[in-house]
Symmetry: C2
Subunit: 227 residues, 2 copies
Amino acid sequence: MNSASGPPETRSERRRRRNREALIQAAYEIVSRKGIDATTVHDITERADVGLGTAYNYFSSKDDLILAAIEQSMDHLARRIETVTDTFDDPAQVFAYGTRTLMDTATTDRRWQWLMQRSEVIADAIYRCFGPYAMRDLLKAREAGRYRFDSAELTWRQAAWSMVGTSLAVCENKLSTDDLTEAVVNLLCLAGMDRAGAWQVARRPRPPLPAAPASASSPTGRPEPAR
Amino acid sequence: MNSASGPPETRSERRRRRNREALIQAAYEIVSRKGIDATTVHDITERADVGLGTAYNYFSSKDDLILAAIEQSMDHLARRIETVTDTFDDPAQVFAYGTRTLMDTATTDRRWQWLMQRSEVIADAIYRCFGPYAMRDLLKAREAGRYRFDSAELTWRQAAWSMVGTSLAVCENKLSTDDLTEAVVNLLCLAGMDRAGAWQVARRPRPPLPAAPASASSPTGRPEPAR
DNA sequence: TTAATACTTGACTGCAATTCATATTTTGAA
DNA sequence: TTCAAAATATGAATTGCAGTCAAGTATTAA
């Protein structure tokens, strides 16, 4: 029954993998529903159907566990974005689409809205998870003469944080979603485009993301009020 | 003995003012030394020489108290910066100096380094405390034709968050202080300058800040290790 | 002087992260 | 198959802190 790929998995390995995945999935679901602060480790282990202490065999702290869940979901999003940007011709549009989609998701997807409240965690996670893609795209666009910046790392770091600030402001109704286009324009300027070109790119039609591989419940709407 | 200015202060009012100030000062000192998370309300009230419960007569929560302390110190810094930028001729240089000085302070002043770790608090505080100055400066420079952006509010929000991200990275040795010049260049581009002009402005000599009005102990150096 | 009001206080409560002694499962050697 | 050593799982107990509140003290104004 064991398909030919990979080394055979021992009982123990299989259990470890199951528990780890169950914990991450449970963490993701609970945090999506209640927010990070209102989520207890007990909630998570309950849902993952493991003992409380087990969480600490896999993760060093509550934050570590939740971070793992966040990173996994960011990886998924990054890959979905890439399937779209792979079809683009203008390298300047790739970064523009990515940043816009990230902010759209952060402000629209109920599961992300809670995360925004712990922005120091999120900003760093965005920097790391999307970084490889983003920096590659930045460099490509620079080679093509569309962008002009010195350090991709610094530029991406600034962009990541500024996206979090912008998204948080939209979540808190201090900015409207209409402002996101201009936010992208500013980011493109940060990366060294001139303003006219930036507006042009930021306004191009944005193809929709491919549907997410269904895993948790309703992705959109308002989160529940805090505890 | 009561100098002619203002209405006479009752005993009660005087005590309230004293307690409030003592709490803010104590909060500031302890947080500077230990960081926000390792600081307990007990530490603060101990140092301020008031009962634990008293803190809650003045502030609704630990975070609220610490936020007040942070805001006060930001107000001081904003005013010190202004005494320098008041002497500038080029309006584009005002924002450049302010952002650079803010990042320099955040990465150099021991008292700020801890704060960086709760960046969602800091970023918002920066946005609010420096906002009036920053937006005014942005608008002036735009009128003078030096900058080109659409919404000062959005631009400042993005700049504030990106400064926090950059400063945090420097504090964590992921960026060097040398990178701050380029960070300012990128911010000026965000505000709509062209890259060449931005480099030129960011490289101008920066006059030192006036000395801080002495209040707490040694402002520079490395913070203590966490708890 | 005094009673009403406003403020202060620190012992106490509640809650949640984390630990750790014990129980259970897995493994590999016999 | 059997068994003991090693690896993991478990949840009751520990810990530590934010925030509450009943009782005490200071202030006010009549």
